[in-house]
Amino acid sequence: MRRRIRGRRCGVFVVDALGNGRFRIGARLAYAARGRPSTWVFIDGRTYVIEPERRDASDRLHATDDQVALSAPMPATVVTIDVTPGQEVAAGELLVMLEAMKMELPIRAPRAGRVKALACREGELVQPGVPLVELE
């Protein structure tokens, strides 16, 4: 199986599928795997994470800066909650301290505002993408 592809920058190159996730491009070996949702490609010591051109791109657009800034960047444990509902916070103020893989990950206020509600408890294991604090 051999596919000739007109690359955008590389001119014409040939990709051979060797099976089991392996591909040959010219003299180089590449590896690829489909994850969810991204596709992963490894060429010459570099890994590229290629996001799908997604139908749910609209979800992304709806995600506000607040939602991103107020969510855990990875699965983590809540160590401390440093604010209470109703409290006024300044931009950059520590809201929640998370811990993952022996590291502390501070969640800070992306802007000034009032804490509307808390969406986590101390000691809880939280997942990325879910805001931990609601800001007004």
């Binding site: 070996l29 489909r34 890994t47």
Partner: protein, 501 residues
């Protein structure tokens, strides 16, 4: 020694189990729920579940581990590194239970684990130390006062710790209060003990450590140095031996200092004496930092150049054997470089990554050793250290070892989670690394540039492969709904027989 229980997980558990195999001693693995399918569990002769994923309830639970030893008839425990390896209470619990702890006696761990006591021992042995103190009063105000006595810049370290965890650099008065509290919390979380140690920071030193082995018959030898200056947040990333900074005379002075310290501490088994080195060559000065009373993560580089298997050595010493070598019979041959492959994103502040290993293939080449506990289809868990593997390259010269390490990394695909592989290549190719001009601030000063370089956008080939793979699996493998990996049946290239491009 009839049966050895390995109180650890990941690559080091695998490493120790292999040594047991080689020596014909049955091994027992322990595992948490998160590790039920981990390689160390399958490799060992026997395996015991010791608790849920949380380390405090499994790998840090002395009672669960001792129960597992009793249940399986293990009469010795190898602690690996991290977890309970430097926990004196664990060592003494083993002693009381009649189980051989493969490491130094509890009293030695305790003395050397307390930085004040360790420094006093270094003083007795005539080994120079860096200014610092552990305030008896551990209130924030008292620690701040100690910090002012020691002077800025300074380091706050967990008194009970090691491995750089919870260590904070404080450059000025302003950062002090919050820094103390954060360091204390991290120390408490990692070691169950929030006691802090304050130490003057020596700017731009090298981190050079000496491996020692001490038997129960009065013999102590050093197995030369490891240079571990490439660190980020005080966690080592690249280690090598010999150090480009040491002359034979300096190497002998440091080796003899480490042996003197080990003797003064009545040390037993394998240990590492860490030093900060200021300057290079015969006029350099070195300061005692701490003793790691365990096997080090980076022990393989020493094994590659000395030919000594340190785990075999640990087991032999614990069983009462005499060291088979004199200092004069030990030599360094060639050069070895270890890089730590971490599940972390260099482009995003080294944020640890957890997730599936969709594709994981270790390179096999001349001069390459890989110590890992990972496998394709497995998972890097959020609960533990993000180390995936250690890649050790050796060769007749430093340059050959360096080139081998780069070549191996270029052929080490790990897909499904972000890793530091490309960042490691950038480090190994940096002119300052090539020339050996490194210090512990290397990644602070050069890291940003290397991170940017290591994070390039995908070339056309990568995009083509990705879109091809995606379109094919959309057509062909709707049946592979779990999406967890490249299971052979779902591989579009395999299933698309007859396709001609």
């Amino acid at each position: 020694m009839r049966r050895i229980l390995i109180a650890n997980r990941g690559e080091i558990a695998v490493r120790v189990i292999r040594a047991c195999r080689e020596l014909g001693i049955p091994s027992v693995a322990v595992y948490s729920d998160a590790d039920a399918r981990a390689p160390h569990v399958f490799l060992a002769d026997d395996a015991v579940r010791i608790g849920p994923a949380s380390p405090a309830e499994s790998y840090l639970s002395i009672s669960a581990i001792l129960d597992a030893a009793r249940k399986t008839g293990a009469d010795a425990i190898h602690p690996g590194y991290g977890f309970l390896s430097e926990n004196a209470e664990f060592a003494s619990s083993c002693e009381r239970a009649g189980i051989t702890f493969i490491g130094p006696p509890a009293a030695v761990i305790e003395r050397l684990g307390l930085k004040i006591a360790a420094r006093a021992i270094a003083g007795q042995a005539g080994v120079p130390v860096v200014p610092g103190e552990t305030p008896a009063d551990q209130s924030t105000a008292a620690i701040a006062a100690a910090a002012r006595r020691v002077g800025f810049p300074l380091l706050l370290k967990p008194s009970a710790g090691g491995g750089g965890i919870g260590m904070k650099t404080i450059r000025d008065e302003q950062a002090l209060g919050a820094g103390i509290e954060q360091a204390r919390r991290e120390a408490t979380a990692a070691f169950g003990d929030g006691t802090l140690y304050v130490e003057r920071l020596i700017e731009r030193p090298r981190h050079v450590e000496i491996q020692v082995l001490a038997d129960n018959h009065g013999s102590v030898v050093y197995l030369f140095e490891r240079e571990c200056s490439i660190q980020r947040r005080h966690q080592k990333v690249v280690e090598e031996t010999p150090s480009p900074a040491l002359t034979p005379a300096l190497r002998r002075r440091m080796g003899e200092a480490a042996v003197a310290l080990a003797r003064a501490a009545e040390y037993r088994n394998a240990g590492t004496v860490e030093f900060l080195l200021e300057g290079t060559g015969d006029r350099a000065s070195f300061y005692f930092l701490e003793v790691n009373t365990r096997l080090q993560v980076e022990h393989p580089v020493t094994e590659r150049v000395t030919g000594v298997d340190l785990v075999h050595g640990q087991i032999a010493i614990a069983r009462g054997d005499r060291l088979p070598w004199s200092q004069e019979s030990l030599t360094q041959r060639g050069h070895a470089i270890e890089v730590r492959v971490y599940a972390e994103d260099p482009a995003d502040d080294d944020l640890p990554q957890a997730g599936p290993l969709l594709l994981y293939r270790e390179p096999s080449m001349p001069g390459i050793r890989i110590d890992s506990g990972a496998y394709e289809g497995g998972e890097v868990s959020v609960h533990y250290d993000p180390l995936i593997a250690k890649l050790i390259a050796d060769g007749e010269t430093r340059e050959i070892a360096r080139r081998r390490a780069i070549e191996a990394l270029r052929n080490y695909p790990i897909l499904g989670i972000r890793t530091n592989v490309s960042f490691l290549i950038e480090i190994l190719e940096h002119p300052r690394f090539v020339s050996g001009d490194i210090d512990t601030r290397f990644l602070e000063t050069e890291g940003q540039h290397l991170r940017t370089r290591s994070a390039g956008s995908p070339p056309a080939e990568a995009l083509e492969i990705a879109s091809w793979l995606r379109s094919r699996s959309a057509d062909v493998s709707r049946r592979s709904v779990d999406g967890a990996g490249i299971d052979a049946k779902a591989d579009p290239w395999e299933t698309l027989r007859g396709f001609r491009g």
